[in-house]
């Protein structure tokens, strides 16, 4: 997506030439991310939440589980529902309904990336009876636009899902042959297994090179970009599992964004860039979140700030 930034041709050439020479304006290489801050458990009113900052991009994610009564849970669509809001705080261009089409693109992309039965195996646990199921809502609010919203949103959703705690409920018979959902005497909380949750990364094509984590200015100089969503291979979070090369990594999403045309070779190259970056990002995230788990669980708001490099 493009936030309007006035750039002269000279400035655009400076950015593009720099990127092609392997030196971006802030000194980063093609695969380098800006400093990433992750906080989880930031919203008391949600079942799971996270706040992500990548450079100046600031994203807030809240996960809510609501009990739904449907005709037949076997026929209901059992997927996370994503809602994205680009607030006017992020940039004046998003005032009113200005940010709606960009927000819809993010929401649809995340939905596609999560739209299979492999990434969240615990979704089957959300079905409580023939007529009752938990429905997960993921709400994403963009607080500040600094480029690379997709990565931030996807990291945020993953962190918030890891933070989500659902209560164990029991299904009891009620009147007229129906069922009702009730709380057991002993309340227990359970979390979702998020080890296979997809990470979506945006690979932007600047000149003839593809980079990740583009700033607003770099986004304006990019001819096209690709969202690549990977399902992290088991070896990245379980060292004893057989190793998987980048070529054999499973993708859950490849989606072209922005105008511009891409040759098939470029698409393949951008996918490789995206996969490499997403795997590194995932490894760093897991390492950091594991360090967090060492702290004892507090029943009130669990605040912790982690610095991800």
């Amino acid at each position: 997506m493009n936030v309007n930034v006035s750039l002269s041709n000279g400035e655009k050439n400076y950015i593009i030439d720099g990127v092609q020479d392997g030196m971006r304006a802030d000194g980063r290489g093609h695969f380098d991310y800006r400093p990433i801050f992750i906080e989880s458990g930031v919203l008391a009113t949600t079942d799971g939440s996270a706040r992500i900052r990548i450079g100046t991009t600031d994203v807030l994610v809240g996960i809510k589980a609501e009990l739904a009564t449907v005709e037949n849970t076997q026929e209901a669509v059992n997927r996370i529902k994503f809602f994205v809001d680009f607030s006017a705080n992020a940039t004046p261009q998003f005032e009113g309904r200005g940010g709606e089409s960009y927000a819809l693109e993010i929401a649809n992309t995340l939905y596609e990336a999560y739209n299979n039965d492999n990434v969240l195996p615990d979704l089957s646990k959300l079905i409580l009876s023939k007529t009752h199921m938990w429905v997960l809502y993921a709400d994403i609010v963009l607080l500040q636009y600094g480029g690379n919203i997709m990565d931030a949103a996807s990291l945020g959703v993953r962190t918030a899902l890891a933070d989500t705690k659902l209560v164990n409920v029991v299904v009891r018979p009620a009147d007229e042959g129906k069922l009702m959902v009730d709380l057991p005497d002993e309340r227990k909380l359970w979390s979702l297994d998020v080890s296979k949750v997809p990470l979506v990364v945006e690979a932007s094509k600047i000149g003839d090179v593809s980079v990740v984590d583009a700033t607003i200015i770099e986004e304006n100089c990019a001819t096209s970009s690709l969202f690549v969503g990977i399902m992290p291979p088991e070896c990245d979070y379980n060292p004893s599992a057989p190793s998987v090369s980048d070529d054999d990594c499973v993708l859950t999403l490849v989606r072209k964004s922005k105008g511009g045309s891409l040759e098939l070779e470029s698409i393949e190259e951008m996918i490789n860039t995206g996969v490499r970056a997403a795997r590194e990002l995932n490894k760093a995230l897991i390492k950091r979140l594991n360090e967090e788990v060492m702290e004892p669980y507090k029943p009130t708001i669990h605040r912790s700030q982690t610095f991800l490099h």
Partner: protein
Amino acid sequence: MSNSRIKGKLRTLRCDLGFLKRADASASYEQGKAIVWCSINGPGDVMASKRLTMKMLVEISNRHVNDQDTKKLVDTLVNPIVEHAIERTKNPRTTLVITLQEMNRDGEYAPVAINSACLALLDAGIEMRYIFCAVCISYGNGVFTVDPDSVALSEAEARFIFIFKPSITDLGGKVIGCDASGVYTMEIYKEALNYARHSALKIFDFYRVKIQEKLAASLRIAG
């Protein structure tokens, strides 16, 4: 093609242009048993709140599409492809209303709807940037099926829809849109694209024949 990796071919194409008397243009397009009607009205008046100063407003509605997967294809493939093919700067401050109605489903809705829309646009004589056509290829058990019907589609592991615009350099045309669903590798994708190109040629030939028929009729009336 005596290639054991591919079976089936493009289903029989049929089309009636201008069959709706009250619409400015229309096409009843059939691909095998799948039928999609497309009607076009415009360029016409548009209310001030929706008016665009520099472009024509294109409103596309796909009627009675109820399943989630087809709705997604309509939003990401059908509507953007049809809208971008039209040269919208030629009729600013007007609106073009395109209505696609599925009369019978056999296989994927989206490619049939896209082809129907292109024929209707040709019938309308609206200035376009390029014409376009869509081809569906499915893959399962090591075999590719061209233009699968509902039965073949239900057995597929992966399904590809490619949209082409004519090109003198690329066989079949240049790819302007693509949607892939299911489990597949890059090699399978490239092979499916190759098979799709051959079908695209046939669809573009069909467009040519249909338009020649329509124009030949009007020339006969004139002379």
